[in-house]
């Protein structure tokens, strides 16, 4: 019992023995290689296929339905060896002769688009043929991906990069040999052969000494080198496969993040941290969509390039030169546009940090008291519960930022006061001043208690331009302050006679003397 394979030659259906099928494919491959630089190559191949069909047809009868190796060889004798197709203008090349011999040996499966059975471009059919699964699997996969947008991009990249299986040789290659242990061994050997040939060719160009060294390799050594070369090739193919998977995943992730990014304006709190951070520093004249478009363009270019390279070098997809140029052009242009927008944004952002300005407010404290308690409390302003926990908090169109610092100093006058200095940067002094003016902070005075909110807030449109608030408690000599534990993260460079490190000052009672602030008690009295 023999397995047969159906092929379509010149529009006719033939059943071929497996070995006959291999040989026909190898033959057409070699002919194509011979004719690839001849004008009208496709037409010539079509003529040859039609003639091949006619020759096969002559052998068929009701008693003989299947074309075997002997019929194929007879047909090849009639048509001639691939070298004979030279047209007297192009001489048969060593490359052709070699590839024909090679192709006779076996036919490795290549990735082509199944243009005949495809719904759109045959990408799914081709992938299915390559991985020996039902095309429906890939079609469903792409349809699912389509909803996120990634499938659309991936499909078009693959469509552009993978050549369609148009000739019989390509169709045969598309459904080529199964991957068996034997085939892997064969492919290892062949890969090694090819590598060796390449090395030797290179050596010939470089220097005769290297050439001698290459050809002087002992049999055993050479076998090892070949085996290693083959293994490397297989490893690369596996890496390539995972790289493609990774790219697909990255693409999907990017699209998901991007689409979330676009809908972000309606719901701040659902956004990703990176998005929130980018949003807070973006140049004020630019919207988030511009940044996203730039990012997508830049990443897309890289994805296109890597995908094409992986397809070419690990899956041996024979990308036509014209497509290759198109792919390169698109990739470079896309990345370039993205990067240029990034650079412009970066420069603009930098310029918006150029000048600094401050806004000062002195809040008098109630007279008659000499003992104070300084506490930092969660901001009384409305903070959403599920905020972005990166120090910056978004709420509606306001930005919340924990940019506060606490200090204690001696008052030159006899009354205590709390001075709030708000700083901001901007593209010019006026801008900086306006941004500082718009910063809101939260101070609550009640009896001896001074409560400072842990967050300042400013309009999101102001962007983060170094806004911060410094609260300095001016105490006359003889006044004391208890620094609550909650102050520990915010005390900043507070001069004290004990030279105590800021965070440790919290939770202690301090007294203002002529010499400066001094530790009065380890706890509240």
């Amino acid at each position: 019992m023999k397995k047969t394979i159906d092929i379509n030659l010149g529009g006719m259906l033939f059943h071929l023995d497996e070995d006959a099928y291999q040989r026909v494919g190898a033959y057409l491959d070699a002919v194509r290689a011979q004719l690839k630089h001849v004008e009208g190559c496709e037409e010539i191949i079509a003529d040859i296929e039609a003639r091949l069909a006619e020759l096969f047809h002559a052998h068929l009868s009701p008693g003989k339905q299947v074309i075997s190796l002997s019929e194929v060889d007879a047909a090849i004798r009639t048509l001639g060896q691939p070298e004979d197709f030279g047209d007297g203008e192009s001489q048969p090349t060593a490359e052709t002769a070699q590839s024909y011999g090679e192709a006779y040996e076996k036919r490795i499966r290549r990735l082509y688009r199944d243009v005949e059975n495809g719904f759109v471009g045959g990408v799914c059919g081709g992938l299915a043929a390559y991985f020996r699964v039902d095309p429906v699997i890939f079609r469903v996969l792409f349809l699912l991906l389509l909803f996120s947008g990634a499938g659309f991009i991936a499909y078009f990249i693959l469509w552009a990069a993978i050549p369609g299986a148009r000739t019989t040789a390509e169709k045969l290659a598309m459904r080529g040999e199964d991957i068996t242990l034997d085939n892997i061994k064969k492919s290892v050997e062949e890969e090694a052969q090819r590598m060796k040939a390449r090395f030797q060719a290179g050596a010939e160009e470089v220097s005769p000494a290297v050439k001698r060294a290459a050809s002087g390799l002992g049999g055993a050594t050479r076998n090892i080198v070949e085996a290693i070369g083959g293994l490397v090739a297989i490893v690369f193919r596996v890496i390539g496969f995972f790289l493609l998977l990774g790219i697909a995943a990255a693409g999907i992730a990017l699209i998901v993040v991007a689409t979330n990014g676009f809908s972000f304006e309606s719901d701040w709190t659902q956004g990703t941290p990176i998005f929130a951070m980018a949003m807070t520093v973006l140049p004020s004249s630019m919207s988030m969509s511009v940044l996203w478009l730039a990012t997508i363009a830049a990443v897309l270019g890289i994805v296109i390039e890597i995908t094409a390279l992986v397809l070419r070098y690990t899956f041996r997809v024979d990308i036509p030169r014209a497509s290759w140029r198109w792919i390169h052009g698109t990739a470079i242009l896309s990345s370039l546009v993205g990067v240029i927008i990034w650079v412009v944004m970066g420069i603009q952002m930098g310029l918006e940090f150029r000048e600094e300005a401050r806004h000062i407010e002195a809040i008098p404290l109630a007279e008659g008291r000499t003992e104070w308690v300084l506490t930092v409390a969660p901001n009384a302003l409305n903070i959403p519960d599920n905020h972005v926990s990166l120090g910056e908090f978004l709420d509606g169109l306001d930005l919340y930022y924990d940019g506060i610092a606490l200090d204690v100093k001696q008052s030159m006058r006899q009354v205590p006061s709390l001075e709030c200095v708000v700083e901001s940067r901007g593209s010019n002094r006026r801008e900086a001043r306006l941004k500082a003016d718009r910063v809101q902070y939260d101070v609550t005075l009640e009896g001896d208690s001074i409560v400072v909110g842990d967050l300042i807030s400013f309009p999101l449109d102001d962007r983060f331009r170094g806004q911060n608030a410094r609260f300095t408690l001016y105490l006359p000599v003889g006044h004391s302050v208890y620094l609550d534990e909650s102050c520990s993260d915010y005390l900043d460079d507070v001069d004290n006679l004990q030279n105590m490190y800021d965070p440790r000052m919290a939770g202690k009672l301090w007294l203002m003397t002529e010499e400066g602030l001094t530790l009065y008690a380890e706890s509240r009295l």
């Binding site: 040859i48 006619e54 004979d84 197709f85 030279g86 007297g88």
Partner: protein, 119 residues
């Protein structure tokens, strides 16, 4: 055809080198194809049959690129014809340009043969 074959055979008989023979075949193949087509519309295998009988062609394969080239140059034209024994066939015929070219080539060939024979 009748005037070429003896000449070619004469040359070949005396050269007896396969390589030179192949080179010469290649050189005159274009002329031969055009001459066969002048006799009437021809299908590729008709052409190859005629040329093989005249010992001017070894394998069919050589013809396909040549025919496409001649067609693209505007010297040959073809029409499709359904076939019972396979896919539709291309039947080639000479165009007006082709006829003129062939006349010129015939003259060239005769001059060439005379020149060679006169040595």
């Amino acid at each position: 055809m009748c005037c070429i074959v003896p000449n070619i055979n004469y040359i070949f008989a005396n050269m007896n080198t396969e390589n030179a023979r192949a080179q010469m075949r290649k050189g005159v193949l274009e002329l031969c194809v055009l001459r066969v087509v002048r006799k009437g519309e021809a299908y590729t295998s008709d052409l190859s049959e005629a040329l093989k009988q005249a010992d001017l062609l070894v394998v069919e394969g050589t013809l396909y690129p040549l025919l496409t080239r001649l067609k693209n140059a505007g010297w040959l034209d073809y029409r499709w014809e359904e076939s019972k024994s396979g896919p539709p066939r291309k039947y080639y015929k000479l165009t007006e340009n082709g006829e003129r070219l062939l006349d010129a080539l015939d003259q060239e060939w005769n001059a060439f043969v005379n020149a060679v024979n006169s040595l």
